[in-house]
């Protein structure tokens, strides 16, 4: 039988191979990452890109969500104050309308309602981080101003009807604002400022046109209900955000664990492989040194 006389050099290439394996396994152990180049696992590498994308999107949504939640909470608490101010105005107007008050009391109520108007207007002009939250898209302009040149005075809205939405990673759109005109200058009789301005005009002279004042008070009541309805929109958004944020967080946890499983080195497995590789290398080294030290040709036996 013929043999390849240079088998020792073949053994050396096996030794190289086993050393290369050890190097790679050691690198995996030290970095904790099992895939260090695309070719090691092309499918996992592609999957990894998608998972990381998902994680980062989730992360970014969680941050955005906490930011807009505080903005929505500011809107909610402003509207809460508006509701209590308006409730007070309604009860003041009702007491003024019962016909038992003298002129100066009526005037004083007119002044109080005027104060409430200022308060409500300042609440409608609430800003968050320098941006007016009830101005639609015109967040840099004060949305509400009252001009007293006419009687009743007129409160105008200089914002727009723009509504912003925040998209969740799964495409759900959550409403972020309610345009101020929709809340405070509602259609027909539901205008907060219209009702307040009319009432102030009604009580300005001290003599009350009861029919007109009662109708204006009713209008204010309607407007109050309307504001409460709009407040529900804001509350709904907060609820939706919280739910979406929770869902995203749990998704992120899952995706992160999938990504970790995909990319992280299995320490037990790698250690076992490393130990096997070491054994193989030692064996090879022994064989080579054995072949090397004992002269392995007949010439050594010839004298």
């Amino acid at each position: 039988m013929r043999v390849d006389p240079s088998y020792v050099s073949n053994l050396v290439s096996s030794l190289d191979q086993s050393q290369f394996n050890e190097q790679q396994l050691t690198a995996e152990l030290s970095s904790g990452v099992s895939i260090t180049s695309l070719s090691q696992n092309p499918v996992a590498s592609g999957e990894n890109v998608l998972l990381l994308n998902q994680i980062q999107q989730d992360d970014s949504f969680t941050q955005s969500s906490s930011l807009v939640t505080s903005q929505l909470q500011v809107a909610d608490s402003s509207l809460g104050s508006v509701v209590s101010q308006l409730t007070q105005a309604v009860s003041l107007a009702t007491s003024a309308n019962n016909g038992t008050m003298n002129a100066s009391d009526v005037k004083s109520i007119g002044n109080q309602i005027s104060g409430i108007l200022d308060e409500v207007q300042s609440l409608a002009n609430t800003s968050y981080q320098g941006q007016y939250i009830f101005a639609g898209g015109q967040t840099s302009t004060t949305p509400f101003a009252t001009s007293a040149t006419t009687s009743p005075a007129v409160t105008t809205y200089s914002g727009d009807q723009d509504i912003n939405y925040l998209q969740t990673p799964n495409g759900q759109r959550i409403q972020l604002n309610v345009p101020g005109s929709q809340i405070f200058l509602g259609t027909g009789t539901s205008s907060v400022f219209g009702a307040l301005n009319s009432l102030i005009a009604d009580y300005a002279s001290g003599t009350v046109n009861t029919a007109q004042a009662v109708s204006d008070t009713t209008a204010l009541g309607t407007a109050l209900n309307y504001v409460s309805q709009q407040r529900v929109t804001v509350d709904n958004s907060i609820t939706q955000l919280t739910a979406a944020s929770d869902a995203v967080t749990s998704d992120q946890t899952q995706v992160t664990s999938a990504q970790t499983n995909l990319m992280q080195a299995d320490v037990a497995l790698v250690s076992t492989q490393l130990s096997l590789s070491e054994t193989q290398q030692t064996a090879l080294e022994d064989v080579i040194s054995q072949l090397d030290s004992a002269s392995n040709s007949l010439f050594s036996k010839m004298q």
């Binding site: 013929r2 043999v3 390849d4 006389p5 240079s6 073949n10 904790g32 990452v33 895939i35 260090t36 180049s37 695309l38 070719s39 090691q40 696992n41 092309p42 499918v43 996992a44 590498s45 592609g46 999957e47 890109v49 998608l50 990381l52 994308n53 980062q56 999107q57 992360d59 970014s60 941050q63 955005s64 969500s65 930011l67 807009v68 981080q129 941006q131 101005a135 639609g136 898209g137 015109q138 967040t139 840099s140 914002g159 727009d160 723009d162 912003n164 939405y165 925040l166 998209q167 495409g171 972020l176 990504q259 970790t260 990319m263 992280q264 040709s297 007949l298 010439f299 036996k301 010839m302």
Partner: protein, 483 residues
């Protein structure tokens, strides 16, 4: 009738034959580690018998020279396999440097630097953050900084690919000189072999020729054709003549469209060499196929992302309330005079990746509001964030496209790796077979030596005894006169 003197002649011939056989063994042992050396065996030939009075007498032995123990078919198979192995080897080396540019991101924050996949996500996420607060300048700045990172990483990757491509180009043209020097030597050896040994194995000369052909096989894909009088013609795998017996043809290179093309006999053979094999085939495959593929993908990605993002940003209203010059989906054209481009506006797809930059420097020019809307509007930011989920790059979302790209590249590399491993294993196997046949085996030589030694001793013993017999004959039985 044989005589004592004929026995003398016969045994002297045997001693000579043993001596030359021993020198062949010595030569084998001396060349035990010479690359390309083929083990030689002494050729023994029985001398023609002598007919005397109708009786045939043997006339000893002659050693007629050494015969190389060679299997030409095996050698040619080995060459053939080596071509494929060195082609895939060269290609694998190139592919490994390509894939090093796209190392998978492990997900830890330190590893994200330079990862285009993460850059794409960060870029589009920065628009999502802008949705939450469209008037926040720091978020606008984040958009621009992630745009700069994305453009920088894509253009860096493209520039590295281009550099690798010109490196491969140089290596490929460097091979030309080696090929020409080898084909020159082979044609000279052909001439020598044809004149020295037209009908038989030419021994050492043939060893040299085989060694040169083997080296040539590693460089370039070839076919060998044995011609008359022990000559050899070599063509490329696709049939262009490189060596025709005593003459060789120069492989030349010249620059065509910025890359080196290869010519043989005036014809451009670059394409044929690419599929031919050898290092040259591997270099050309990586240069003209693998790197251009990767560059095309990057170009597509960069082009589509830039075009779409620029279009949307340019058909929106920025933080200063200034509109762009573009037309939005509703057909409204912005009133602006200056286009609001985030990236340099691409004109052609090819080569865009290398030149991609983020040109916007003023964060307030990021147009998160729609045309005609107040600066607090976020609908344009939403539209730009949504690009991440739209199939804007070759029917895929940017992230899917990149994910697809890395999987494809990884699969190519691992495919070539497997191919290369298999081919190398096959080369090793053939090499082992060839070594077993043609390499000097010291055990065999020791055995031959010892056989030859005993036959030489025997012959000299016979000679001594013949000498004694001859003396007896001359002295006619007297012991003293001639001894």
């Amino acid at each position: 009738m044989g005589t004592i003197s004929s026995a003398f002649g016969l045994i002297a011939g045997a001693l000579n034959a043993d001596q030359s056989a021993l020198s062949i063994v010595a030569n084998n042992v001396a060349n035990a580690n010479t690359p390309g050396y083929t083990v030689e065996n002494p050729k023994w030939q029985e001398n023609d018998p002598v007919q005397i009075n109708g009786v045939s007498y043997g006339d000893g032995v002659t050693e007629t020279g050494a015969a190389s123990q060679r299997d030409s078919v095996l050698v040619a198979r080995l060459d053939q396999q080596q071509q494929s192995a060195s082609a895939s080897g060269a290609r694998l080396t190139a592919l490994n440097s390509i894939q090093a540019l796209f190392t998978p991101d492990s997900g830890s924050s330190t590893s994200t630097a330079g990862d285009i996949g993460s850059d794409i996500t960060s870029f589009f996420s920065s628009f999502s953050s802008l949705e939450a607060n469209p008037t926040d300048t720091s978020l606008d700045e984040q958009v621009l900084s992630s745009a700069t990172t994305l453009a920088g990483d894509i253009s860096n990757a493209a520039a590295s690919l281009n550099t690798q491509r010109s490196g491969l180009d140089q290596e490929a043209s460097g091979v030309t000189a080696q090929v020409n020097s080898l084909t020159g030597t082979i044609s000279q050896l052909n001439q020598q072999i044809q004149s020295a040994s037209p009908h038989a194995d030419a021994g050492t000369l043939e060893d040299q020729r085989d060694e040169d052909v083997s080296q040539l096989s590693q460089l370039i894909g070839i076919n060998q054709v044995t011609t008359e009088n022990n000559g050899l013609s070599i063509t490329t795998t696709s049939g262009q003549l490189l060596v025709s017996e005593g003459s060789s043809y120069q492989l030349t290179s010249g620059s065509v469209n910025g890359v080196t093309d290869f010519f043989l006999g005036g014809a451009d053979v670059t394409k044929q060499l690419m599929s031919g094999g050898g290092e040259l085939g591997g270099y050309i495959t990586a240069r003209d196929q693998d790197i251009p593929n990767a560059l095309t993908s990057l170009d597509q990605l960069a082009y589509n992302v830039s075009t779409q993002v620029n279009n949307l940003n340019n058909s929106g209203t920025d933080l200063n309330g200034v509109e762009g010059t573009g037309t939005n989906q509703a057909g409204v054209t912005g009133t602006g005079t200056v286009p609001l481009y985030i990236f340099n506006e691409p004109t052609v797809v090819a080569g865009y990746a290398a030149s991609m930059t983020a040109v916007m420097t003023d964060p307030s020019q990021v147009a998160s509001a729609a045309l005609g809307a107040g600066t607090g509007d976020n609908s344009n930011a939403t539209a730009m964030a949504n690009l991440a989920k739209q199939t804007i790059v070759d029917g895929l979302t940017p992230t899917d496209f990149y994910s697809n790209f890395v999987s494809t590249l990884g699969a190519t590399v691992s495919g070539v790796q497997a191919e290369n491993t298999a081919q190398n294993a096959s080369v090793t196997q053939l090499q082992t077979q060839n070594n077993a046949l043609s390499k000097v085996n010291l055990n065999d030589e020791a055995a031959a030596m010892s056989t030859m030694e005993s036959s030489y001793q025997a012959a000299s013993q016979v000679f001594t005894m013949l000498n004694t017999i001859m003396a007896s004959v001359l002295n006619l039985g007297q012991q003293s006169t001639v001894s």
